[in-house]
């Protein structure tokens, strides 16, 4: 009897601390992932950088030799000024003077990249007033964007995911899980081709020196809101219809972001993924009423899908739509 008691308490100990073990694994895994990334990036990019540095050193040497009247110090001063201006997006080359960074359509593009937190950095506010306004604009605008995206995505999900899944489940008689999985895969495939492959092909045609891989890379880096800024469309030297092009790109990025969120939400609603995620989250304590409005990062919809899940479990799944305000009041009433 003692043995069985000791055995069960051991199991209980492991079970109680299961969440702690999972968290420790998560932290370790995260750090290892970063280290792994660093090693791979370093080994892939270092040789190329080495080559570029040598090439540049030789170029500078040759230039100074060919023009002996130029002292190195004067050249350095000139270069620093040119590069400073270049950092701000102002090119001193003669054939690039046509492109303005702050005309209306470029400013619109800039505003949309700020609010989506992409932030390419190819144009940055130069003046102090611009920087201050940028902060104020974002403090109001980013929550606004989250609200906007949440509302739009919830309504789209209803028409694109819930109704079709229900329809196929009822009409064809497959189990809901099977239909959901197939639907998620089909949706993912369609989204990837419509928002990655086709735009990548279009960009590789419209932009002079982008091949298909670079265009695809641009689409991915933009739609994930990383926004490195190494590739920015519409900045080429004699870009035709630049204004229209910039507006088109703004619309594409916005729609692409919405599409990504729809796909993410669809995948998150799959039961298998929900179970996996719950491993890492802390159990909800119901003692204090927490009013979850929305999760910060646009790519994380745990609060919305959890609300949706709790509503599904407690009520019928045929809710017309899930308004974020009504669901929070429901959530707090469930907690009470």
């Amino acid at each position: 009897m003692l043995q069985s008691l000791a055995g069960s308490s051991c199991v209980r100990l492991v079970e109680q601390h299961r969440s702690a073990w999972c968290f420790a694994l998560l932290v370790l895994g995260y750090l290892l992932y970063l280290v792994f990334g660093a090693v791979v990036f370093s080994s892939v990019e270092l040789p190329y950088e080495d080559l570029l540095r040598q090439e540049l050193g030789k170029l500078k040497q040759r230039f100074l030799e060919e023009h002996a009247c130029l002292s190195e110090q004067q050249l350095e001063q000139f270069l620093m000024r040119v590069l400073e201006a270049s950092n701000y997006g102002v090119s001193v080359l003669s054939n690039a003077s046509g492109n303005w960074n702050w005309d209306f359509t470029s400013s619109l593009f800039f505003a949309s990249t700020v609010l989506s937190t992409t932030g390419y950095g190819h144009t940055v506010p130069l003046s102090d007033g611009g920087k201050a306004f940028c902060i104020i604009f974002s403090v109001i605008g980013i929550p606004f964007t989250l609200l906007f995206l949440t509302a739009v995505v919830q309504r789209i999900i209803l028409y694109i995911t819930r109704r079709p899944v229900l329809y196929f489940h009822v009409r064809w008689g497959f189990s809901k899980q099977v239909v959901a999985i197939i639907h998620a895969m089909v949706l993912g495939f369609i989204t990837v081709s419509c928002f990655f492959l086709i735009p990548a092909a279009i960009f590789s045609v419209l932009e002079d020196d982008w091949n298909f891989l670079e265009s695809f890379y641009f689409c991915f880096i933009s739609l994930s809101t990383i926004g490195l800024g190494d590739y920015v469309p519409g900045e080429g030297y004699n870009q035709k219809f630049r204004e229209l092009y910039k507006i088109g790109i703004t619309c594409y990025l916005l729609m692409g972001l919405i599409a990504m969120l729809v796909v993410l939400e669809t995948f998150c609603e799959l039961r298998e993924l929900k179970k996996f995620r719950k491993l890492f989250y802390v159990k909800k304590d119901k003692e204090e009423d927490q009013v979850h409005i929305m999760e910060h990062d646009q790519l994380s919809f745990s609060s919305i899908s959890d609300q949706a899940a709790s509503m599904k479990d407690d009520q019928k799944a045929n809710e017309p739509f899930v308004n974020s305000q009504s669901s929070t009041s429901n959530d707090s009433s469930l907690n009470n």
Binding site: L26, F78, A111, L228, D297
Partner: protein, 252 residues
């Protein structure tokens, strides 16, 4: 009836969002256009003066040289300075680690970016798995931070305060300490280590923690400054906790 008001709400929200973008664009344009004009004029004047000083240089040669230089800059190689600075690489381990962190947190400064095709493909897959991992990780760290607030709430509850007041106070406390610890104090720190003004420090802190990450201000990138060895690690820890704080702020 509920459906009607819901549709109206959505329509208003969508319209309001686009109006907000348009207004922002107009204000940015108004604020920045003159500064950009001045910058262009100054750059052109400097180029003129330089060419006048050195008449052996033809304009074409100059343009070609500058084009090559600018391309090098965009690839992250800074050609100003003496030979010893050529020894430090942009892709040594600590810089690559910092880059991996900016990709996974979606900040994406862009001062460093992969140039080779292999690097770009790897970057796509790395981010594909890394971003969800980062979200889950930040969520957990944020919950740890919120435990502090809960303790404060419990303490006040035992003192007999009403629940609503506790909630308001804990939110205020969370907001105030967060702004102090994650925005104000680091800006003072950056004044010392980077030589930025206080407002530039706040601007950098905000742009980083909101994950916008323009890359016009980046820590540890000034070639004429000496940084102590664990500077970047300290900054990374600040970014991590700051992001978790912001994520939690939207949850309170």
């Amino acid at each position: 009836k509920a459906m009607c008001s819901g549709r109206l709400q959505t329509a208003l929200l969508v319209a309001g969002y686009f109006v907000y973008l348009l207004v922002g664009a107009a204000v940015f344009q108004a604020l920045e256009r003159t500064a950009e004009k001045q910058e262009k004029m100054a750059a052109a004047q400097m180029k003129e003066a330089f060419l006048q000083n050195f008449t052996q240089l033809t304009v074409a040669e100059m343009e070609q040289f500058m084009k090559n230089l600018i391309k090098a800059i965009q690839n992250g190689v800074y050609p100003v300075g003496n030979e010893s600075q050529f020894e430090e690489s942009n892709w040594d381990f600590s810089n690559s680690f910092f880059f991996a962190g900016t990709v996974v947190s979606t900040i994406g400064y862009g001062t460093l970016h992969p140039k080779t095709a292999g690097g770009q493909i790897f970057c796509v897959f790395f981010a594909l798995f890394g971003i969800p991992l980062n979200i889950v990780f930040l969520h957990r760290v944020g919950k740890m931070l919120s435990l502090l607030c809960k303790k404060l709430g419990k303490f006040l509850y035992e003192k007999g305060m009403r629940k609503k007041k506790i909630k308001f106070l804990t939110l205020l406390f969370f907001l105030a300490t967060g702004i102090l610890v994650f925005l104000c104090l680091p800006s003072v720190f950056f004044q010392i280590t980077e030589g930025w003004s206080y407002s530039e420090g706040i601007y950098f802190a905000f742009i980083t923690l909101s994950t916008i990450g323009f890359g016009d201000y980046v820590v540890g990138k000034q070639s004429d400054r000496k940084y102590f060895s664990y500077y970047r690690v300290l900054v990374a820890i600040w970014i991590l906790f700051g992001l978790a704080w912001i994520a939690l702020l939207f949850n309170l």
